[in-house]
């Protein structure tokens, strides 16, 4: 299927499948693990993230020519935090039960990697309409993914789905799936299945395919998403290096995180050094 670049449908498709934030980009791991104890929690979390993602992308894109480049991070944070506060109060007022079970994870949407990552990688550069649909697509992709994880956890761990008994009455729930370790396990197995499918489809993943390298070391370094989009070769470096490089001090990073980098990245950096020397 060939879609026109930056058209609304292409953006939605991209967010849901091509660059699914949970399974492909492996961003936003905190809410993915924490709010998938039941299907209804996941839907609540997913929808509130979607709303915030779409609206903050819209506003950031509309303001992209006004925000000075050096001040963009604080400006993005303020925009996102405002929307999060609004959603926080709306949920407290209209869905108190859901709000109580999601608790602290609603205000923590502020530091969700996906939102900052999209603001930096897409909304800060592109026009308003595609940015809005980019946010919407990413949000829907996120919602579908965590709903899937939550369904598995709830059905195996509690024998219910949306609170309704679905397993036969003789079924003994495997409690650990709704507890913390279950979240790690289910997520790990789903990503492994994704990898297996990729290998099976002949698209052999790179030798050391490891999303933990590609993502941020932390939510801030999701900014790396923006860098990766422009220069794919920088994906293999460690987060510390990226930050140092964006500050223009590669040498320092090499000295500072001597162990953190893969040998390939080391090679790339030393090449770069030689280039600058020559």
């Amino acid at each position: 299927m060939k879609l026109k670049k930056n058209s609304p449908v292409e953006r939605l498709w991209n967010g849901i499948f091509v660059e699914n934030p949970v399974f492909v980009l492996v961003l936003g791991t905190c809410p993915t693990l924490a709010t998938t104890t039941s299907a209804i929690n996941a839907i609540g979390m997913g929808l509130s993230t979607t709303v915030i993602l779409a609206l903050s992308n819209l506003i950031i894109s509309a303001l992209r020519k006004i925000i000075p480049d050096r001040m963009r991070m604080p400006a993005y944070i303020v925009v996102i935090a405002s929307f999060v506060t609004m959603v926080d109060f709306l949920m407290e007022g209209f869905t108190p039960a859901l709000y109580a079970s999601l608790g602290i994870y609603i205000p923590l949407i502020v530091v969700n990697c996906i939102i900052m990552g999209r603001a930096e990688a897409y909304a800060g550069k592109e026009p308003v309409i595609p940015s809005f649909f980019d946010g919407l697509g990413m949000g829907i992709g996120f919602t579908i993914a965590i709903f899937f994880i939550a369904s598995i956890r709830e059905i195996i761990g509690a024998g219910t789905w949306f609170g309704i008994q679905v397993m036969p009455s003789g079924y003994v729930p495997v409690n650990i799936f709704v507890l913390a370790p279950g979240a790690f396990l289910v997520y790990a197995f789903l990503v492994a299945v994704m990898n297996k499918l990729k290998i099976g489809a002949g698209r052999k993943p790179k030798k050391e395919w490891d999303p933990t390298e590609k993502i941020c070391g932390d939510c801030l370094s999701c900014m790396k998403l923006g860098i990766c989009d422009e220069k794919p070769e920088t994906c293999s470096e460690s987060p510390a290096q990226t930050i140092a490089r964006t500050k223009g001090t590669v040498e320092e990073a090499v000295a500072g995180s001597a162990g953190a980098q893969s040998s390939a990245a080391e090679g790339a950096v030393s090449e770069k050094k030689e280039e600058t020397k020559s």
């Binding site: 506060t85 109060f89 530091v111 790690f184």
Partner: protein, 190 residues
């Protein structure tokens, strides 16, 4: 004594990473080597203790008297961002050795979920400034313990023959799951 109990609770029983899922990104991203994991843990301990103190002070002496509690999310995230910048500048100028050790991790911490999470939990549970600071410190220690253990396991795991689809991210998650099960043992301390 209550403070000690609170600290043990935050550090081991309700470990910030393994049972509350805060700061997962850096937990997975910076845990490849023991040195970087230790550095990250130390930097986070420093920032988290300081930020829970500063957020507590601002909340109790500025937001409550003026009835501005509803601004807490925006205010806290800006405090954390500004604080990290300030700490970075301060260390660069006055404590070069410390800056060399922690400097590279500081920008990573700005939006670490754990920092904002602790500030919000302190408000949610009505902790005083002192209790909040102790809670922040203990949480950071819990994070440091978890990330150092994971880094050690990952260093050992390099030589293992992991099945293809599980290489990289999935096997790290499974390691974290097993650690999480192990940490359940601490709930008997309650």
């Amino acid at each position: 004594m209550t403070l000690l109990l609170l600290a043990v609770n935050a550090c081991l029983i309700n470990n910030v990473v393994l049972s509350q899922f805060l700061g997962i990104c850096s937990f997975l991203g910076v845990s490849k080597k023991r040195d970087t994991a230790t550095g990250m843990g130390m930097a986070l301990t420093f920032v988290l203790t300081l930020s829970s103190f500063v957020c507590g002070v601002i909340y109790h002496f500025l937001l409550i008297p003026f009835g501005l509690e509803y601004l807490k999310t925006i205010v806290f995230i800006l405090i954390v961002a500004a604080l990290v910048q300030f700490v970075e500048m301060f260390l660069k100028k006055f404590a070069k050795a410390l800056y060399d050790a922690l400097g590279i991790y500081l920008p990573l911490i700005t939006t670490n979920c754990a920092v904002l999470g602790v500030a919000l939990i302190n408000v949610q549970k009505n902790y005083s400034i002192l209790t909040g600071t102790v809670y922040g410190f203990a949480t950071a220690i819990g994070y440091t313990i978890a990330i150092i253990i994971l880094a050690n396991i990952r260093e050992k795991m390099v030589d293992n023959d992991v099945p293809g689809p599980f290489r990289g991210f999935p096997i790290v998650m499974i390691t974290a799951a097993l650690m999480s099960i192990a940490f359940f043992g601490f709930s008997a301390l309650k």
